[in-house]
C-alpha cells in the first residue's frame, strides 16, 4: 500500500475499544494508519471533534461505539447515531467527501469485525487520497504570489 495517511478513530471505551483490543490480542493483521482516541461513550462524541479533526488535516475519521441496545449508558449511541448521520450528510457542502467519515458499531468480542472495519475504512481513505485543507492552500497561494512579485523587487 502507498504512504500512510492520517486516520483518527474515536472509540467508545466499553465496546469498540475492547473490540480493537481483542483484535490486537488475537494478532489479526490490520493497516496501521489509524490512531485511536478512547472516549467514554459514542454519545460523548461531539460532531465538532470530527469536524476539527478533518479541517485540521486528518484524511479520515472513524467513529465506533456499542451496537444499538448495547450501550453501557443505555441511550448514548442512539443520540450519537442521529448526530453522526446529520454530520455525515453535512460534509459535502464544505467540500469534504462524506466517505472520509464513517460511524459504525463493534462490540468488545468482535475482534474479527474490527479487523474488517479498519481494513475497509483504510482502503476507502486511500482511494480518496489526502484531504484538501481550507487553510493550507491559501498559504500556498500567498507564497506563490510572493514568488511572482519577487522579480519586481
Amino acid at each position: 500500500m502507498d504512504k500512510e495517511l492520517r486516520i483518527v478513530g474515536f472509540l467508545c471505551n466499553w465496546c469498540s475499544y475492547g473490540g480493537a483490543d481483542t483484535a490486537g490480542v488475537g494478532r489479526f493483521v490490520q493497516p496501521t494508519d489509524l490512531r485511536i482516541i478512547r472516549m467514554p461513550c459514542s454519545g460523548r462524541i461531539d460532531p465538532l471533534f470530527v469536524l476539527k479533526t478533518l479541517i485540521g488535516g486528518a484524511d479520515g475519521v472513524l467513529v465506533s461505539g456499542c451496537h444499538p441496545r448495547d450501550c453501557h449508558y443505555a441511550e448514548g449511541n442512539y443520540y450519537a447515531r442521529r448526530r453522526l448521520e446529520v454530520l455525515k450528510r453535512f460534509l459535502p457542502i464544505i467540500g469534504i467527501d462524506p466517505g472520509r467519515f464513517e460511524y459504525t458499531w463493534v462490540s468488545a468480542s468482535e475482534g474479527q469485525r474490527w479487523q474488517h472495519v479498519v481494513t475497509s475504512f483504510t482502503n476507502q481513505i486511500h482511494a480518496l487520497g489526502p484531504v484538501q485543507r481550507i487553510g493550507r492552500q491559501s498559504l500556498a497561494k500567498a507564497c506563490s504570489l510572493g514568488t511572482v512579485l519577487e522579480p519586481l523587487a
Binding site: 461531539d46 460532531p47 465538532l48 469536524l51 476539527k52 479541517i55 485540521g56 444499538p68 441496545r69 441511550e75 442512539y78 443520540y79 447515531r81 442521529r82 448526530r83 448521520e85 446529520v86 454530520l87 450528510r89 453535512f90 459535502p92 457542502i93 464544505i94 467540500g95 469534504i96 467527501d97 464513517e102 460511524y103 459504525t104 458499531w105 484538501q132 485543507r133 481550507i134 487553510g135 492552500q137 491559501s138
Partner: protein, 322 residues
C-alpha cells in the same frame, strides 16, 4: 385601518400588562429601520412596519430575565424563532406576548445597494423611500428610482412557507394565503460543483471574515453569550490566530450548534458585514434534517427537536449499511 395602525392599537391596548414591547422604528436614514423598545404610549407613535423591517426581534427575548413580561412584534419567519425558543424552554409562554403580522417579504439592502450601483447611484445618498405597486421607490441624487420588490427582496422571502406569524396573541391585518414550496434548490445548485470547487468557494468567502461574531450575536437561538465555545480559552476550540481554519471552524460551531434548531431566518447572513453567505451552511443542515426526520424547526411548540430525541429503530438511518 391600515395594518400599521391596527398594530399600534393592539400595542396600546396591551402595553399596561407588559414591561416593554419590541418593534421597529425609523433608523438613521430612509432605508434603515432599527429595533424600537416601547415602554410608554408616546413611543408607540414611532413604530413602523414595512418591507424595510428586516430584523428578527425575537433575538432580544432571551436577554431579559424571567421577571419581565415582554411583547415582541414578529413577521412569519421571526415567529418561528419564538416557537423554537419555547420548544427549548429558553423563554416562557406567559412571559412573552406575540404581536403577529402577515408579511409579503422584506427588502435585502445588499440587493438594493447593487441595483443602485448598477445605475451609478450610491445607496448612501438615498433621501426618501416608499412602497407603491410592489416597487420600492427611492429618491436618490435628485432622481426617483423604482426598484421592483421581486428584484430586491430577500432570497428567503421568495421561498417562504410561513408568511403569517405561526404563533401570536394578537394578529394585525389579513393572513396571506399563498405559500411557496421550498425545494432547497439553492443547496442542490451549489452541490453541482465539485468538492474542490466548493471548498475553494468557502476559502474565498471566509477570507473576508473579520471574526466580529455579528452572525452569532444576531442569531435568536445563539444563547450562550459569554460562554460561547468560539471564544472561550478553556476549551480553546478556536485559537487567536486569524487563519482560514479558525474563521471557518467558528462557522462549523455555529452550524452544528444550530442543527435541528435553526429556523433559517437568515439573520446571521444579514448581519455579516462582509456578506458571507452563511445561510447556505445552515440550509444544508435544514435540508438533511427535513429529509431524515421530516422536521422543520420552530413550527410546533410541542415538538421535541430531532437531535434531542431518538428512536430505538430509526426509520431513515441505515445504521449497519456501512
Amino acid at each position: 385601518m391600515s395594518l400599521q395602525d391596527e398594530l399600534k392599537a393592539q400595542i396600546v391596548k396591551r402595553l399596561p400588562e407588559l414591561d416593554v414591547v419590541i418593534g421597529w422604528g425609523q433608523g438613521y436614514d430612509s432605508l434603515h429601520r432599527t429595533p424600537l423598545f416601547i415602554t410608554s404610549e408616546a413611543d408607540v407613535d414611532k413604530l413602523v412596519f414595512d418591507p424595510l423591517c428586516v430584523h428578527n426581534l425575537s433575538t432580544y427575548l432571551t436577554r431579559y430575565g424571567s421577571a419581565k413580561r415582554i411583547g415582541v412584534v414578529v413577521k412569519g419567519c421571526d415567529s418561528r424563532s419564538v416557537v423554537e425558543l419555547l420548544q427549548e424552554k429558553l423563554i416562557h409562554r406567559d412571559k412573552v406576548m406575540v404581536f403577529g403580522l402577515p408579511c409579503e417579504g422584506v427588502a435585502d439592502l445588499g440587493k438594493v445597494k447593487r441595483a443602485l450601483a448598477a445605475k451609478d447611484l450610491d445607496m448612501g445618498r438615498v433621501r426618501a423611500a416608499s412602497f407603491a405597486d410592489g416597487d420600492l421607490v427611492v429618491t436618490v441624487s435628485g432622481q426617483e428610482i423604482r426598484l421592483p420588490m421581486a428584484e430586491v427582496q430577500a432570497d428567503k422571502c421568495g421561498r417562504c412557507r410561513y408568511h403569517n406569524a405561526v404563533i401570536h396573541d394578537e394578529f394585525a391585518g389579513q393572513p396571506i394565503t399563498e405559500a411557496a414550496p421550498d425545494t432547497y434548490a439553492d443547496v442542490a445548485a451549489f452541490e453541482e460543483q465539485t468538492l474542490e470547487e466548493r471548498m475553494e468557494f468557502w476559502r474565498e468567502q471566509m477570507e473576508r471574515c473579520v471574526r466580529c461574531y455579528a452572525c452569532r450575536n444576531a442569531c435568536p437561538l445563539c444563547v450562550c453569550r459569554d460562554y460561547c465555545i468560539g471564544q472561550s480559552r478553556e476549551p480553546n476550540w478556536v485559537s487567536q490566530r486569524d487563519g482560514l481554519e479558525e474563521k471557518f471552524f467558528f462557522q462549523m460551531i455555529h452550524a452544528t450548534h444550530l442543527a435541528g434548531r435553526c429556523t433559517e431566518c437568515g439573520e446571521c447572513e444579514r448581519a455579516c458585514p462582509v456578506d458571507i453567505p452563511l445561510l447556505l451552511l445552515k440550509r444544508k443542515l435544514g435540508k438533511e434534517i427535513l429529509e431524515l426526520f421530516d422536521y422543520r424547526a420552530g413550527t410546533d411548540p410541542d415538538a421535541k427537536p430531532p437531535l434531542l430525541n431518538f428512536k430505538v429503530q430509526e426509520d431513515t438511518i441505515n445504521e449497519r449499511g456501512w
